[in-house]
């Protein structure tokens, strides 16, 4: 099967093919794979930082927002890590408080990748943060969307998924993400 991520230059069998699970935003003409990790979505919403060790022993700190790359023309390069660079740790900033949610939506009740997942931290005043899994080649968060929390899930999602280019098979992810966030927002805040 053609896959530019797995065999660079081989093409993408998902484009124009079976794409139900795949990305609706952030993809490219070379790749619409989604980032499969749930943990990374939570790390993104928590503003974690990644500490890496370079071959010469130097270390550097990479904000998680900058850690993953979008596929562009080189989907095989998934992160900003350099060859030989080793992740040593991940640091969480001091607790963000609020009500913390991770809503994972999938066909099977367990042991399945997310169709859409919503990591959200909702503060008592209604402000919040949100990152999505299952929709993009990396954990998907846009801080500008979070300014819309007071206006509800639809407004947040309009910004968060702006520019989405879903396929016929995965366009349901857009309303699904919005509805999943709405369900999270409907839960008690305290």
């Amino acid at each position: 099967m053609a896959c530019n991520k797995r065999r660079p230059g081989s093409g993408c069998s998902a484009l124009g093919g079976y794409s139900r699970q795949l990305a609706v935003v952030g993809g490219s003409d070379a790749c619409i794979a989604t980032h499969p990790s749930d943990m990374a979505v939570a790390m993104r919403v928590l503003d974690a930082t990644v500490e890496a060790v370079k071959p010469q022993g130097a270390t550097r700190t990479i904000p998680i927002a900058d850690f993953h790359r979008l596929p562009g023309d080189t989907p095989e390069i998934e992160t900003v890590l350099e060859p030989g660079e080793l992740i040593a740790s991940v640091t969480l900033p001091k607790p963000a408080g609020g009500m913390q949610h991770y809503r994972k939506v999938r066909d099977r009740a367990s042991y399945a990748f997310a169709l859409v997942s919503v990591a959200a931290i909702i503060q008592p005043d209604g402000s919040g943060r949100v990152a999505l899994g299952g929709v993009a080649p990396k954990p998907w968060r846009r801080e500008d969307a979070e300014a819309e929390f007071s206006r509800g899930a639809k407004a947040v999602m309009a910004k968060l998924l702006a520019g989405a280019k879903p396929t016929e098979e995965n366009k349901f992810k857009v309303p699904l993400a919005e509805r999943a966030l709405a369900a999270v927002l409907a839960e008690p805040r305290g």
Partner: protein, 114 residues
Amino acid sequence: MKPFTYERAASPAGAASAAARRPDARFIAGGTNLLDLMKLQIETPAHLIDVNDLGLDKIEPTPEGGLRIGALVRNTDLAADARVRRDYAVLSRALLSGASGQLRNRATTAGNLL
């Protein structure tokens, strides 16, 4: 799976420099993702550097009031850590919704970022 040589690194810097010497090397920690892909020859490293002995399996408080999570902390341990459960529930929940109990017992924090 292509043949590869295998070594266990003893320190993070040692692991990184071993990798620098071998551009065809890959780190292996939990292996839950890498071995899957190696069997399909999607990943074909000629050398594996096992990083499980690096001591990066601790969760420690930071001076800023946060938590520093070692790269090799297993998903199960991170999700079950009392501080994570209390202060970073979104992380605990996300981890517990992923994969299966068996996979979470092996999969690592660093591996899950990749």
